[in-house]
């Protein structure tokens, strides 16, 4: 902000750089290992090869598991993006004062109870409903429930920062509740919604215990597939999977940056 830099600016910059490195180091390690020529998932890699990618592409199970995980994650993010945002707005804005704290706790409940117990509870529940884990309904519901609080909490915090007079301005210009929300409130809380949906997506993509018990017969999710794989084959194929997902992310982020401009998304 100010024009001049002090020694502290550089200290700060150095610190932040170190943290960025800390964030990236394991990721880079995975990438490096995926190109390893060796048989083992170990460092340093022995030579360079693309064989693990070949291994990966010859394994149809990874592909179908990835697609299944992507689908679960996308649905969780979208569904929670809608109902989590609505719930957050209700709780922060409209809920009667004596209800706000109970509601907040209820909305955070999926975070508070252990995932494995939720999984068992849902497993029972869906068998009682006669649905069992024949379809994706059980696993998808589980994913939505477990990822719900991420959207809810992030949107709540975004709403705290929002200047209400913008909404009033929109109303004064004749915009109804819905239009005001769509054109003014939503853009303002967008960082919270995006972060929430991103978390929901990522958490859903990583969920382990819920998927373990609720996955439909014959299907797998990527973490399960990877875990099962690594349990029996501790080789760099798993790293290749990760590298590929990093690559996809990177390209996606880059495209967003080049077209929309990443900063305009305001995470």
């Amino acid at each position: 902000m100010t024009g001049s830099k002090t020694i502290w600016d550089y200290v700060f910059l150095a610190l932040v750089t170190l943290i960025y490195i800390f964030l990236m180091a394991p990721i880079l390690l995975v990438v490096v290992l995926s190109f390893s020529g060796g048989e083992f998932l170990a460092f340093p890699p022995e030579g360079f090869s693309l064989r693990w990618f070949g291994e990966l592409f010859s394994n149809a199970r990874f592909l179908s598991a990835t697609l299944h995980s992507l689908q679960l994650a996308a649905v969780s993010a979208v569904v929670n993006g809608v109902i989590g945002t609505l719930a957050a707005i209700y709780v922060v804005r409209y809920a009667p004062a004596r209800l706000t704290n109970p509601l907040r706790l209820l909305m955070s409940a999926p975070l508070l109870v252990p995932e494995i117990l939720t999984a068992i509870a849902l497993l029972f529940f869906f068998f009682e409903l006669g649905i069992g884990n024949n379809y994706s309904i059980a696993i998808q519901t589980g994913h939505i429930i477990v990822t719900f609080p991420y959207v809810f909490l992030n949107v709540c915090s975004a709403l705290f920062n929002f200047d209400r007079s913008q909404e009033e301005a929109a109303r004064s210009l004749g915009a109804g509740g819905r239009m005001t929300f769509r054109r003014v409130t939503l853009p303002a809380i967008k960082p919270g919604v995006i972060t929430g949906c991103l978390f929901a997506f990522v958490i859903s993509f990583d969920i382990f215990n819920i998927s373990l018990l609720l996955k439909p017969v014959g299907m797998n999710t990527l973490p399960l597939e990877l875990f099962d794989y690594l349990r029996f084959n501790f080789d760099p194929t798993a790293a290749a999977v990760a590298t590929l997902s990093i690559l996809v992310t990177f390209v996606a982020v880059l495209i967003v940056d080049l077209t929309v401009g990443l900063r305009s998304l305001r995470f």
């Binding site: 007079s165 913008q166 009033e168 929109a170 109303r171 004064s172 004749g174 915009a175 303002a188």
Partner: protein, 347 residues
């Protein structure tokens, strides 16, 4: 025809009584200015009219229709917020476009109207900027343009020109007044600038501590203030305390520590009063009423000089004189003013 009626409005913030029984009837296309000291409840009044605040009691009518419970967006009004409340994620043009889109104005007409209004507020080249890339005054003009471009039924303007320089204020005033009269918009204008209110308004409402002190035409407010507060608040005023010796209808003879003064006022006053006289009606020469004193201070004001005079009784009187007057501190001075320019107020 009455378009906007405030009927016994009371408003509380917690236990603070902010608006106290506000009654006001505003005609179709009328331009009303709301004046009053900082914190007297002007913004709150606008917010109640706009529907952003519920009222503790009372009704708000648009025409004959009770609007008290109606949502702001169904009131067809335009508002300039004291804090601007621009949409930070929209460009200037998008800010203006918003209200037009709500009204389903087709795109070409929208663009034309936006361009025209931006031209009027002298921001023709700024359509693509974001609010954060504008200076304070530029932001304020965007806020104004956003409220005007929709040409609403009712305009609520909360200090819309506070951050503009005189030249721009003049232009904007003209623009507002012109649009308002052309379209016949009922306007409530909050300003701290009395001369602005004087020039623009059909009527002026003076508020004080949540109460309407006086409501009337500018000239009436200025020349025949209903209370000392109004006299003090609108324009410069000198008041000299005294006691009524004689009263015949509107004409009074008043005993003061600086001699007897003849003055006019509403009929029926008696006892302790104050005689009000505007600085510009006092000349430095004897007149129908004459006072003597000494110059305490003489302040250069560009157009003229402001003279502070202490009367014999110790009372202070100010007057303006031509900038090249020869009076300086300590000089004895004689002041005169005509009875019909004075105004008697209950003390």
């Amino acid at each position: 025809m009455t378009t906007l009626t405030l009927d016994g409005i009371n408003k509380f913030y917690g236990s603070l009584h902010i608006l106290k029984d506000i009654n006001l009837a505003i005609g179709q296309g009328e331009f009303i200015s709301l004046l009053g000291p900082s914190g007297c409840g002007k913004t709150t009044t606008l917010r109640c009219i706009a529907g952003f605040e519920g009222v503790g009691s009372g009704r708000i009518l648009f025409g004959a229709r009770d609007m008290t419970g109606v949502m702001p967006e169904h009131r067809d009004l335009g508002m300039v917020f004291q804090s601007y409340a621009l949409f930070p994620h929209m460009t200037v043009a998008e800010n203006l476009s918003f209200g037009l889109e709500v009204r389903k104005i087709p795109a070409p007409e929208r663009a034309a109207r936006i361009a025209q209004v931006l031209e009027m507020v002298k921001l023709a080249d700024y359509g693509k900027r974001f609010p954060r890339e504008l200076s304070g005054g530029q932001q304020q003009r965007v806020a104004l343009a956003r409220a005007l471009v929709i040409e609403p039924q009712v305009l609520l303007l909360d200090e819309p020109l506070a951050n503009l320089d005189a030249a721009l204020r003049d232009d904007m005033r003209f623009f507002i007044r012109d649009l308002q009269q052309r379209v016949g918009i009922t306007t409530i204008y909050v300003t701290h600038d009395q001369s602005e209110a004087m020039v623009m308004s059909d009527r002026i409402v003076v508020m004080n501590k949540g109460v309407i002190e006086q409501c009337g035409a500018p000239r009436e407010i200025y020349e025949r203030p209903a209370s000392l507060m109004v006299a003090d608040f609108i324009g410069q005023s000198n008041t000299i305390p005294g006691r009524i010796r004689e009263g015949r209808g509107a004409d009074y003879l008043i005993e003061t520590a600086d001699g007897a003064l003849s003055a006019t006022g509403v009929a029926g006053l008696s006892g302790d009063v104050r005689v009000m006289i505007r600085p510009e009606h006092i000349v430095t020469a004897a007149g129908e009423n004459t006072l003597t004193g000494r110059v305490r201070k003489s302040i250069y004001q560009g157009e003229d000089c402001l003279l502070h005079v202490v009367l014999g009784s110790g009372a202070n009187v100010t007057t303006t004189v031509s900038s090249d007057n020869p009076l300086s501190e300590g000089d004895a001075v004689t002041l005169g003013f005509p009875a019909r320019k004075s105004w008697v107020l209950a003390a």
